[in-house]
Symmetry: C2
Subunit: 250 residues, 2 copies
Amino acid sequence: MEKLKCIVSYDGSQFSGFQIQPHKRTVQAEVEEALKRMHKGQAIRIHSSGRTDKGVHARGQVFHYETSLHIPAARWEKALQALLPNDIEIIEVTSVSASFHARFDAVEKEYRYYILNRDKRDVFTRNYMYFERDKLNMEKLVAACKQFEGTHDFTTFSSARASVKGSRVRTLHEVNATKTDDVIEIIFRGDGFLYHMVRIITGVILDVAKGKLMPSDIESLFKAKNREKVGMTMPPEGLYLWHVTYKEND
Amino acid sequence: MEKLKCIVSYDGSQFSGFQIQPHKRTVQAEVEEALKRMHKGQAIRIHSSGRTDKGVHARGQVFHYETSLHIPAARWEKALQALLPNDIEIIEVTSVSASFHARFDAVEKEYRYYILNRDKRDVFTRNYMYFERDKLNMEKLVAACKQFEGTHDFTTFSSARASVKGSRVRTLHEVNATKTDDVIEIIFRGDGFLYHMVRIITGVILDVAKGKLMPSDIESLFKAKNREKVGMTMPPEGLYLWHVTYKEND
């Protein structure tokens, strides 16, 4: 058996998320179906770095799988792509050691959230950016980002529905935002993310950028450890799983 | 009765083109249905600057219609938008003189064609740009563009199926291309365009950029007046009706 690591990009707008679910179109189901066809009907399970929700996109999602087929890693990319729909794109397939695990070996993940901030909606980006008509103050927006950097208990900023066993302490290595024309890009790099964490934090960052909250309010929100203290979970169309980083020896 | 001029943007990827057709989802059908609802069941016909084909996009398509409703032009935009799907966006509605006609009064149209020129496909732009893996030489590409400027008989560069009564002579005021990162934008501005003309010309421009044709070959292609002398009609996803210009007094 050989273990392969695959980097994949997908347009989440037509998927009910990454993870396989009965009677739903999911990325995992499409990839496993393609692998099953390559393995002459044998079911092959893939293991991802983590789920993405309905409507969330990926530039660099990672999964691994094991195979008995003797295909050079470089050929897997085209072989798999040929059996996949055009909203999934295989970026790279590489051979990895038997101990590699796409989820447990990830040392950092990067997410990005895109916002179109202008008066008029845009039909061409409606599934790829969040549309915000209210004027966002970039200075306040960046100041809010910085409040989330470092090691914190993110209970306030994760879904109360999430059944996390253990700590909700995570470390964000970078939270930053830039604006190019009408598009705001917010980057989140961290050692781990709780359920809905990026989308809830982005909502708070926008509240600061609109003047509804002060950047200094964020410290007391962390202390409250209560999801109900903050606003809405931002919609999925602006969110991208951008990159997953692994230990060097992988 | 009041006559209104409407500028509209649409994502062509989920439409069978602009023009109404039985049992097909078209832009005209969606807009006329919205107008019918506003007019309590009365059918309202819209008249566009011209059709766009299945899959072709618009940033600035124009149509006109007549109404007996007493709504200020500025309110029409929101009223109409509220009844339209989110792949159609009303940009502007203005009151025009009774003699205005969206098709016959147009003095210039601008189309743009977008090409993603790199090794890897991109899931996020698959419906919005043509993907070209072959390396395109920009110097040759721009030189080819320039061959199409001016007044010519465009018979070779229009669909043989088009039933054009009268002349196939048109004047292109500008044909030019620029590249930003991996994206090539080709702009066409002219007094009129024949069926498939932009898509056929773009195919020839790419043949020059790939070294299959010389820019100087284009002159003899014009003279041949034969559609069969040139290559494929480029696919619709890269094409945008960008802007329609009217006489100043409109």
